[in-house]
Symmetry: C2
Subunit: 200 residues, 2 copies
């Protein structure tokens, strides 16, 4: 997020077909809650495409990368590595330390998919648990990012969006901002439309 | 959660097969982050079974219900209804009001799956957005519950668990608490074992 050292989210492991939706949700959650970049295993091509498509329509900056070097990325990370796991230390006990480190260091957040090897636990600066209960890697990532940024991620603005949702008490209000971008003479004449947005 | 009026999470819509994992994650996230109960559409039998199984092993109280009366449940709810949607009001703008209402009223949290009809928007006391970006209903639910309970859900203890994870800086520490429960003479002799827990 602008004004902070980089936050990247690495999805460790992906089974094409079975994990497509979860991996996509990891990527979209990373983007919506303040991360700058997501790294997927190189077989997660469909999830990468979906997250890039959403970024194209709803704005960025947000990068999606495919890599076959998951372990090397973790081991070579110049900054701090936080591995989210139900076996780790309680988020409420260590979040202040992670925020302190993030003042001047990039953070790599590792989110497990399939079984995470012991090496990842060893290389992590923090093995961190959002509850020590089994639930969802997407939920864990969301709560962690919200606490890492202390809620400031909810105020971020997206650049180069084609459309933007206007918060409403009732109903769906989506503004098409392409026209105003392509025509600098009428920046305020954004087309407004009530349309449906596919949430995935 | 103990000490609070009830919080129930209603998953609106479910496509067997395609949605099993997301619906399961909605249920597990509800349990782990302080809700008392989840209601699934009656075709979500597999997700219900998984969430009940986890509750049996890791403790409760937490109820899982299947219902064919989603709309009637929302319309007849005696308390406040919060519908999570990317089109809604910003969570940071309305969360204090929701917390105030929750002081003495049960909260029903509606989490969309397939397309949510306009009726649900109308019946909700709040249509609430955890960011106005497309991401994940599981992530939205997680951040909402964490803010509703103001982090206190992370301190909750589970009753009648068979096993419990002990937070660790490194490694996996799972305690089998069945022996101590069944033998009141040796409550402290809980079996300790490093074992793997399937996170889903």
């Amino acid at each position: 997020m602008q004004g902070y050292p980089e936050v990247a989210v690495l999805r460790y492991g992906h089974r094409p077909g079975r994990d497509d939706r979860m991996t996509t949700h990891v990527g979209l959650t990373a983007r919506a809650l303040g991360a700058d970049r997501v790294l997927f295993p190189d077989n997660a091509t469909q999830s990468a495409e979906t997250v890039r498509d959403i970024t194209g329509r709803f704005g960025g900056p947000f990068d999606v990368e495919l890599t076959e070097e998951l372990n090397a990325t973790i081991e070579g990370w110049e900054g701090v590595v936080v591995h989210l796991t139900m076996y780790g230390e309680r988020v409420q006990d260590v979040e202040a330390d992670v925020r302190d480190a993030h003042v001047d260091q990039p953070v790599l957040v590792v989110v497990g998919g399939e079984k995470v090897p012991g090496d990842v636990y060893e290389h992590a600066d923090w093995n961190l648990a959002v509850t020590n209960q089994p639930h969802s890697e997407v939920a864990g990532l969301a709560v962690f990012l919200d606490r890492l940024f202390d809620g400031r991620e909810l105020e971020q603005e997206y650049e180069d969006a084609e459309r933007r949702v206007i918060p409403e008490e009732l109903g769906k209000h989506v503004v098409d901002v392409r026209e105003s971008r392509s025509d600098p003479r009428s920046p305020s004449e954004a087309q407004s439309a009530s349309e449906d947005v596919d949430e995935e």
